[in-house]
């Protein structure tokens, strides 16, 4: 029972990170239909910012907002330079563009920083743990869960109350109609990228605080997982992204904890097969996007 509770905390921590990443992908996808492969590189940029801040002796409390800000700036620049020229192209064109961006950035990291994994200096408190009701929980796990909850609440308020957030939701339902109502395409898209950069930045801080190192490929794997989470939840649906992220986190953690040792090596294939099996029954995901229903014949 203790093990189950313990793993559930872990699952929330990992699932929360996936959820934030999947949300970042979903915000951009819902508006312009782009599956952004380079989302992982936004994470890596935030990770390197943390690393350099640590080296320069900047306090962690300052380094975190700085890292998130860097990811946001990088996301907006990425849109301006790479994605604006292909904005009205097919989904495949945009996806391929994004993987070219991802590839170029990874090589740049390798050349300009290092091909090897670099240590990130973290405050000592993150590696400590506290005991709550007999459970030993790492501070970094608690931080991850708290940060995820805070971000989700922030996002909910932003999307429901803020003008830009409402404009984004309108654009996600029907971009052309939203533009006819006077919503500026460039503003909404830049906003979506900034938001996805912010989410990637937060996710990167959480990710790095579990591993205390960063390498050029750091963002790749979690973002691939986030793609899968976004599909599982229903691509383009924000609530779906959160649900898919958490579900994937749970599947992975529970498999790691409870799969017999002989099958541990097949953890990833088994986990993904479960996802595929769920998708067979719900091809549009757990919570399908609203825009799916609105195609007019």
């Amino acid at each position: 029972m203790d093990l189950l509770l313990q793993q559930t905390v872990n699952a929330f921590a990992l699932g929360g990170t996936y959820a934030l990443l999947a949300l970042g992908l979903a915000v951009v996808f819902s508006i312009m239909g782009l599956i952004n492969f380079a989302h992982g590189e936004l994470m890596t940029i935030a990770g390197y910012t943390l690393m350099y801040c640590g080296i320069a002796g900047v306090s962690f409390m300052l380094a975190v907002p700085l890292a998130i800000a860097m990811a946001m700036i990088a996301a907006v620049l990425m849109e301006r330079i790479a994605f604006r020229p292909v904005r009205n192209s097919s989904g495949a064109t945009m996806l391929v563009t994004s993987f070219a961006v991802s590839m170029i950035l990874q090589v740049l990291f390798q050349n300009l920083i290092s091909t090897r994994s670099q240590a990130v200096i973290l405050p000592a408190i993150l590696s400590q743990s506290v005991t709550i009701g007999g459970l030993v929980i790492g501070v970094n796990k608690i931080a991850a869960i708290v940060a995820t909850i805070v971000m989700l609440i922030f996002l909910d308020i932003f999307m429901k109350r803020q003008k830009t957030g409402i404009a984004m939701r309108a654009a996600a339902e029907d971009f052309n109609i939203a533009r006819l109502m006077g919503i500026r395409a460039n503003t909404v898209i830049a906003g979506a990228f900034a938001l996805s950069g912010m989410l990637a930045g937060v996710a990167a801080v959480l990710w790095v605080s579990q591993r205390s190192s960063v390498d050029p490929h750091m963002g790749f794997l979690p973002v691939v997982k986030a793609f899968i989470a976004a599909i599982l939840g229903g691509l383009g649906s924000l609530r779906g992204a959160v649900a898919g992220g958490f579900l994937l986190g749970f599947i992975e953690i529970y498999l790691a904890a409870f799969l017999p040792p002989g099958l541990q090596e097949f953890r990833d294939p088994i986990g993904l097969s479960i996802v595929v099996a769920i998708l067979l029954f719900r091809p549009n995901g757990l919570i399908p996007a609203a825009s799916l229903k609105s195609e007019k014949v």
Partner: protein, 593 residues
Amino acid sequence: MITSPRKHIIVSVTAIVLAVVVAAVLATVLGTASERVLTVFFISLIAVVGMGVYSGNSGILTFGHLSFMAIGAYAASLLTLPAQLKIATLPKLPEWLATTEMGLLPATLIAVLLTCAVALLIGLAIGKLEGSAAVISTLGLLIIVHGIAIGWRDVTRGSQTFFGIPREASLWVAAIGVIIALIVARLYRDSISGLRLRAGRENAIAASAVGVRIRRERLISFVLSAALMALSGALIAHFLGAISPKKFYFTDTFLLLAMLIVGGMTTVTGAITGAVTITIVIEVLRRFEGGFTLAGWDMPAIFGTTQIGIGLIILFAMFRKPDGLAGLKEWEERLFPGRPGTKAAPDIAQSAKAEPLTATGMTMQFGGLVAVNDVALTLNPGEITGLIGPNGSGKTTLMNMLSGVLVPTKGRFYQGTTELSGLVSHEIANRGIARTFQNIRLFDTLSVYQNVLVAALSTNGGKNAHGRAQAALTRMGVADHADEDAGTLSYGDQRRVEIARALACQPSLLFLDEPAAGMNRDETDNLTETLRALTRDLGLGILLVDHDLKLINQLCDRIAVLNEGHLIAEGTPQDIRNNPVVIEAYLGPNRQD
């Protein structure tokens, strides 16, 4: 089986064989280094066209096809690996496999068949997904197969190198392989299945409405492309002599995808163009990677020059040529435009199933909105029925239900005594009900002739398809445009092609959704004549939705009027013109009362 002119195929196949043989001879003359480069190029090209067979024709990008390459490579290698080595390195193999030792050819064949079986199962599973979900699911496939290859140590040696594979894949073996792959891919593109799949790629709803079973065609191309990937995998394993799961993962996936996309994934020409371009760029950049001297300046060694080069080429291609360097047509199609010569059928044959369509209680609810509410309607052969009503009264929704595009919330409809409700779009098209769409849905990058041919091939068992296609084009007066791309036609011509496409299904009942929209008076009058002739000559029943009341009044034997989802009147044009309820629906209540 092949839908394009024989000339295209002959020219293309000859060119493929010639090019491969000439390249191979040249490489042999130039020496071992070029032989190696060319062999790898040939094997990669097999994989690129393999991915193209699925992605190009279906329009669904794939990240997962290297898993089929991995399955092919491991399966073939397990069969050719010397028995003694197998016993030493893989002690836990089952007895029958450990003692098997065969040549490259039978091993490759078995590996390809095995991969086909696996692809069939996977294709059945992920075939349900659409759009971006289908793309990402292939990413999942790659990770799953990679994970299995690493985990299944008893058979694959896990993440360690699987070595000792006999190096039997020489340049000429690869050359034969690539010739086979290119010809298969080229033939598939213009096969009936390939043409149907391309129609589905252009417009899935319209393709179903002319009888195409998109999922089945997708599955066929998925399995075929997996077979080519397995061939490529078996050859690369027997060229390198050693493989590991890493070889079939993201790095190579991106490299091969880059080749496919830069060249243009919809054609074999594009796959070749892309593979050649990227290979040349890699070979050139690789020489710069270790640093070089330019005009007296020492350039530093830059790690990953090739990757940056490939990345920039992709960006350039996507910004400037999103359809790829080779565009959307094969070179021989550009050079020799045309279509297969046909003995034009005298005219469209009369459909056998001349039975009335009876619908009762048709209701469609979208959330809280009832778009169509309890409507009953009968459509008779040889009769033109007009369906009119203000905007949003449910006309198109009713038509969508009767053609299987939407599933009614309530209500049933019958053809004679056969129930049609519950059937999907392509099944209804096969029962002799064809339609056009309010917002034109043509297969834009296919020629006008192919647009109509797909419909003829996918209905009535595809009998005399070329004749029916030609006759339908002639009937609608668009035969002169047959070789043009449908997307380039004028609005009025596109409407006529859409009707021709519906006629090619040899329907007994034709649904026309605003056929005269965007036509001028002369064109509309012509259309009136054409439609009248269709009912007179062929005994066709027509359901006509339009806002042009002159057209409706001239043409219709009977008119049904919808308002806010209800059928408010039905009768002859004369009755409807004098019906106070109809006048009120259109003009509002009379204030003088």
